[in-house]
Amino acid sequence: MSKQLAAVVGVGQTHYRAKREDVSMPGLLREAIDRALQDAGMTFEDIDAVVVGKAPDLFEGVMMPELFLADSIGAAGKPLLRVHTAGSVGGSTAIVAASLVQSGVHERVLTVAFEKQSESNAMWALSVPVPFTMPVHAGAGGYFAPHVRSYIRRSGAPTEVGAMVAAKDRQNACRNPYAHLRNEGTTVETVLASQMLWDPVRYDETCPSSDGACALVIASEGAIARSGVENPAWIHGQVMRSEPLAYSERDQVNPRAGRDAAAYLWKRTGITDPLAEVDCAEIYVPFSWFEPMWMENLGFAGDGDGWKLTESGATALDGTLPVNMSGGVLSSNPIGASGMIRFAEAALQVMGEAGEHQVDGARRALGHAYGGGSQFFAMWLVGADKPS
């Protein structure tokens, strides 16, 4: 049984800020949704179903906020699904929305992911003591820093590679009007001079905490043919994989769930050499060193070689595989939306609508997200051409 084709036909984002005190939650979501609908040339009346994604409800202090958001996001009278897969949720949400179309059940689906974490306290929300579970009151950086240290030890990477990623992403962000951090003049030297937070992760190698939302309109082949959209981002393949937080011999530097997911995606899309065949990638890098780590996990580089891609400039905006052209999670991080932003930015690239951070001639782009303790992975490959 082969599935129906689906493509992204509308993308909308909010401006990302530490605190969006100018809007309520419905206002924030509408900012992204209205832009996505406008981009798709549609109104709420054209939409068959809505899929919402966000990370923990404790981030806003509202239990299942999609219930109160139902009418402001145009879901009244329609099917509404709410996805939550930790930090990978933005990607998973886009995949679930695409499934609604690929299954043949719906023609046009609106999906939106958000976090307005300034309305509660994210650190508190992540630090609630739980029976039977070892508390890690170290924040996300404290949790991931040992993995980064382990990666550096295993790969022998020069210690400034993380700073190279941070400088690149922050410079890319200056080309993205929606980016939260727009730090002109960020260089490898200024990153290395920033405060050490969780050795070896420095302040400037760390993602911000943002308010923001991202929305997509996904449509079927038939609906696209009947619309005026001429540059859909066709979904060539998508995948989700999960594994437990801890088990004997689990490799948290290069998790099997991520490796399996990438291998499945490349196989499904007929890609045998990802580095040569993928034109650009938006991958989930909340701490700078995750760029080289994920390069290996995704199969763009062999074990221990991911940092060489970064060091060579291959992942720069003008490199052979530009990574995080938008500035990435390092520059804007509304957690529940961050994965969907990766998926959306990949779509914008193949639609040719990425503005100043457009990669010339991008035909195939990867969107990637991960969550939990590097346990949950969601990815899609979008293309300018209809999948063969």
């Binding site: 599935k3 299942m64 009278g77 579970t133 999960s242 099997r256 399996d260």
Partner: protein
């Protein structure tokens, strides 16, 4: 659409847990039961999806450790909805329809007893205008019940009849936490709890979990099923809708989302319905909205009034309906799930004894 059947279902419900098991401890024996029912193992499952709530668990990422119950390797194709597991079933059904999977195992879990449930659920309301007033679930249901009485839609006796019939029906349900013969007079003799609701008009606070396996008929793996439970219940109608939440602007005597979902799924032609009605009057309201036939059997398991494990109760309703189809008691049955205050969001799953898709449902 591919023909997809419910082929396995397991549940646990309790009003109190000795030793307070975590979600993994809840799920492992239930999954084992599913392997026993189907002859399958983890390797036969193409997609996994769960439903739960962080707020119910009082922590972020409550579903994260649940995947420990699946096993470590290989990693699984998996998703999660912050909804009742009935909606995770929908996501699993979708995944099978895309052709990316031939089977799905879905599960839900929650410990409603971990906090004052009615107060926790007040956090589902509009956080800017309503939540600060802390109207709790039972009070909101009380407003709905009162409105129905004032409009002549039902009376306290009709509500008590729902309770008595449910408790009596639950006598045969090993998983029901409230059961046994109860008369209308017994119920009416109870003091008022949240006028006009008595305690028995309200679902008990229940902990629990449930899991279900669905599979596509056109897959080679389907033929490897060894069904110890007797059969398959074919999903022939599957729809869900949501209404705006606004308590002041909604007509609380209507549930348009239930109505539209019911019509689209083919509810009017079922012989049996398991309705997720956490309050007695809501069964009456749902019967009307879904357009059930007068002779349709409703909640032969006892329904949510006899056990309401949050985030799996809707899936339990679908499972209980499927079991009646497996047993050959009926040819067509319906499972229903609700979410949000006062029947705001509703899902209807219609199942048939055969694969023929002669219903009004889209599936």
């Amino acid at each position: 659409m591919r023909d997809v059947a419910v082929v396995g279902f397991a549940q646990r419900q309790t009003m109190e847990f000795d030793g307070s098991p975590n979600c993994v401890e809840l799920l492992v024996p239930i999954l084992a039961e599913l392997w026993q029912q189907t002859g399958w193992t983890k390797d036969d499952i193409g997609f996994w999806c769960s439903g739960s709530s962080d707020y119910l668990a009082g922590r972020s990422f409550s579903f994260v450790t649940a995947i420990d119950a699946i096993g470590a390797v290989p990693p699984v194709s998996e998703s999660h909805v912050e909804m009742d597991a009935a909606w995770s079933l929908y996501e699993g059904w979708l995944k099978i329809q895309t052709g990316e999977a031939d089977s799905a195992l879905v599960y839900g879990f929650g410990k409603s007893s971990a906090s004052p449930l009615r107060r926790t659920l007040a956090l589902q309301l509009d956080p800017y205008t309503v939540t600060p007033l802390w109207p709790d679930t039972v009070s909101i249901a009380g407003l709905q019940a009162r409105l129905g009485i004032e409009h002549g839609r039902w009376d306290e006796r009709a509500m008590a009849e729902v309770v008595a019939r449910s408790r009596t029906a639950a006598a045969d349900n090993e998983y029901a936490v409230l059961k046994g013969a109860t008369t209308v007079e017994d119920v009416l003799a109870e003091p008022l709890f949240a006028d006009p609701l008595r305690r028995s008009d309200c679902a008990p606070v229940t902990d629990g979990a449930a899991a279900m396996i669905i599979a596509a008929a056109d897959s080679p793996r389907f033929r490897s099923l060894s069904l110890s439970t007797g059969g398959a219940a074919w999903i022939t109608g599957f729809e869900h809708r949501i209404d705006p939440i606004g308590l002041g602007s909604r007509d609380l005597l209507r549930s348009p989302s239930a109505h539209v979902a019911g019509v689209a799924a083919g509810a009017s032609s079922v012989q049996l319905a398991e309705l997720h009605a956490p309050f007695s009057h809501q069964e009456i309201l749902l019967r009307d909205e879904l357009g059930l036939a007068d002779d349709a059997v409703v909640n032969p398991s006892g329904g949510a009034l006899c056990g309401n494990p949050m985030f799996s109760s809707g899936l339990v309703r679908i499972g209980e309906a499927a079991k009646r189809v497996w047993a050959g008691e009926v040819d067509r049955a319906l499972g229903h799930a609700t979410s949000g205050p006062a029947l705001q969001q509703n899902l209807v799953c219609v199942m048939d004894a055969s694969t023929g898709r002669a219903t009004g449902g889209r599936a």
